[in-house]
């Protein structure tokens, strides 16, 4: 990745067209936007080709241009912004409560032997009941409401999070705990200063997994509970046979998840576990 930029020989070489192209490519790919969007270019091109050549019937498969038109149309009408904010509000509630419940529960189960003995069978049992399997009864209890959707998202997030925290705490090297103890830290300080940061790589992984599940649960819940939201939009569009809206919904999901990762999760990890050299630093996405 490191470009040999100096040396007379090198400078002479840049004059040949191939060298010049390589330098240009390197300069372009260094910017964030290109790195982020670059991998999508061939996919969009393939997609566009498939649509242009009518590999599939046009009624089932629309090209990027149709989706873009649909996007602008729905933005102008205010439908998409409205649905988006509905989905994001539900997600925010779900994630908020999910983390608020999952993290303390995870650390409690990890730290206390009796809490573990008490809850482990329950955890395994309830984890087995898929999130969507709760929807029928949740709708009976809470109706087609924000509470119902939040419940399902929280439910999906909590279990992977608890399991991740437990395995994270188990991974903290015994020597670090010992070192802290013989530096004079009491049990509480050991927890705050050693166990929590030591478990962070696994916890960050758990949050990522949990959010991914929660995100999917949201869409599924919207499809079934269906009054508004991106998931509802897609399913409703299918009903009336508007394929471009379905495509648009799928793209919106991908973009939103990417944004959440790039804006929240990745910077957090960069500032903590990567800064501390606790995980291999991945160069992608910078």
């Amino acid at each position: 990745m490191v470009a040999p930029t100096d040396g007379a020989l090198d400078r002479a070489a840049t004059r040949t067209p191939r060298r010049r192209l390589a330098v240009w490519l390197r300069r372009v790919t260094r910017t964030g936007a290109v790195r982020t969007l670059g991998p999508f270019v061939p996919i969009v091109v393939l997609w566009w080709l498939a649509a242009e050549l009518e590999v599939f019937p046009a009624a089932f498969f629309v090209g990027p241009d149709a989706v873009l038109t649909e996007f602008l149309d729905l933005m102008r009408k205010g439908v998409l912004p409205g649905y988006l904010s509905d989905s994001l509000t539900r997600l925010a509630y779900g994630i908020g409560f999910g983390l608020l419940i999952g993290l303390p529960m995870g650390f409690l189960v990890a730290m206390s032997a009796w809490a573990r003995r008490l809850t482990w069978p329950l955890l395994l049992f309830f984890q087995a009941i898929a999130d969507i399997a709760w929807l029928p009864i949740v709708i009976v209890w809470f109706g087609f409401s924000l509470t119902a959707v939040t419940f399902v998202i929280v439910y999906t997030i909590v279990f992977p999070l608890v399991l991740a925290v437990v395995s994270g705490v188990e991974q903290v090297p015994q020597e670090l705990v010992r070192a802290a103890r013989s530096l004079g830290a009491g049990r509480f300080r050991v927890f705050v200063e050693v166990i929590v940061p030591g478990a962070l790589p696994a916890v960050a992984g758990g949050i990522r997994t949990g959010l991914g599940y929660g995100w999917r649960a949201l869409i599924a819940a919207e499809i079934i509970v269906g009054t508004s939201g991106v998931g509802f939009m897609m399913f409703d569009a299918r009903r009336v046979g508007d394929v471009s809206e379905v495509f648009l919904g799928m793209i919106v999901l991908g973009v939103l998840w990417y944004a959440m990762d790039a804006l929240v999760l990745a910077p957090f990890e960069r500032a903590t576990v990567e800064r501390w050299g606790m995980v291999r630093q991945v160069e992608a996405g910078r």
Binding site: R178, L183, G184, P197, W276, G277, M278
Partner: protein, 261 residues
């Protein structure tokens, strides 16, 4: 004054899976005076680490007592600072953690931390995370961390074992320099005879498992010491050869007659 007093220490490990019992330490008794550097040597698996872990309070003994400054200790505490073989630095910390645990105010803490980093030759590295340091530097930092905390006894378990020979030599010399300057009380585990003789005032030689103290060898070499000069002394070789003989003799014949001290 006696800083560390070990008497009748014994340890039997029970395998929680098979129920097998292993007597790691038979009966170990020795003392470390204040400001003294004492090493413990013995065949691999004879229980050196176990002795250190019991003193540190990480492992509970089956019998015997550990006294620090005349008081029986139980569990880990800041009076016994430990330098670990693989340094056990906190990946997420840059500054003096132990000092904060002691409740020393931040400004003073920084002062103490910088002073000790300088002492071990790490001036200018105060804002680095451990993964940004070399193996030798990490070990220096491990020493600084403990020194800064001013424990009654400093416990070191083969701190230089996983470091290349050249760096190890330098670390040994620097440790001697710091010791001669500060005179902390040190209990040092090693399996390197030259290292033990070079660093120590006395060397505790253990027999095979179940280990007993075979002999406590006094190292009466002048200080300050440096590697070239000290190891060239005829007395140095004499002591080292004596310990080598003790260790190889203890090999197959073991029994109560080996107990000394």
């Amino acid at each position: 004054m006696t800083a560390l007093e070990i008497s009748g220490l014994a340890k039997e490990y029970v395998d929680s899976y098979s129920g097998d019992r292993v007597t790691a330490i038979g009966e170990v008794t020795f003392t470390v005076e204040e400001g003294e550097f004492v090493s413990i040597l013995g065949p691999s698996g004879c229980g050196k680490t176990t002795v250190l872990n019991i003193i540190a309070g990480f492992v509970e003994q089956t019998a015997g007592t550990v006294k620090v400054g005349g008081r029986v200790v139980d569990g880990p505490g800041p009076d016994r600072g430990v330098v670990f073989q693989n340094h056990a630095l906190f990946p997420w910390k840059t500054a003096a953690f132990g000092l904060r645990m002691k409740g020393i105010p931040a400004a003073r803490r920084r002062e103490i931390a910088l002073e000790h980093l300088e002492l071990v030759g790490l001036a200018g590295f105060e804002n680095r995370y451990p993964h940004e340091l070399s193996g030798g530097m990490r070990q220096r930092l491990g020493v600084a961390r403990v020194l800064a905390n001013e424990p009654a006894v400093m416990l070191m378990d083969e701190p230089f074992a996983s470091i290349d020979a050249q760096t190890r030599r330098k670390l040994q010399e620097d440790l001697t320099r710091v010791f001669e300057l500060r005179r902390p009380t040190v209990f040092f585990v090693t399996h390197d005879i030259d290292e033990a003789v070079f660093l120590s005032d006395r060397v505790v030689v253990l027999s095979r498992r179940p280990s007993r103290v075979r002999e406590i060898v006094t190292v009466d070499l002048p200080r300050p010491r440096d590697w070239q000069g000290t190891t060239a002394l005829p007395e140095f070789r004499e002591i080292a050869n004596h310990i080598t003989a003790l260790l190889s003799e203890g090999g197959d014949r073991e029994g109560p007659e080996l107990t000394a001290a």
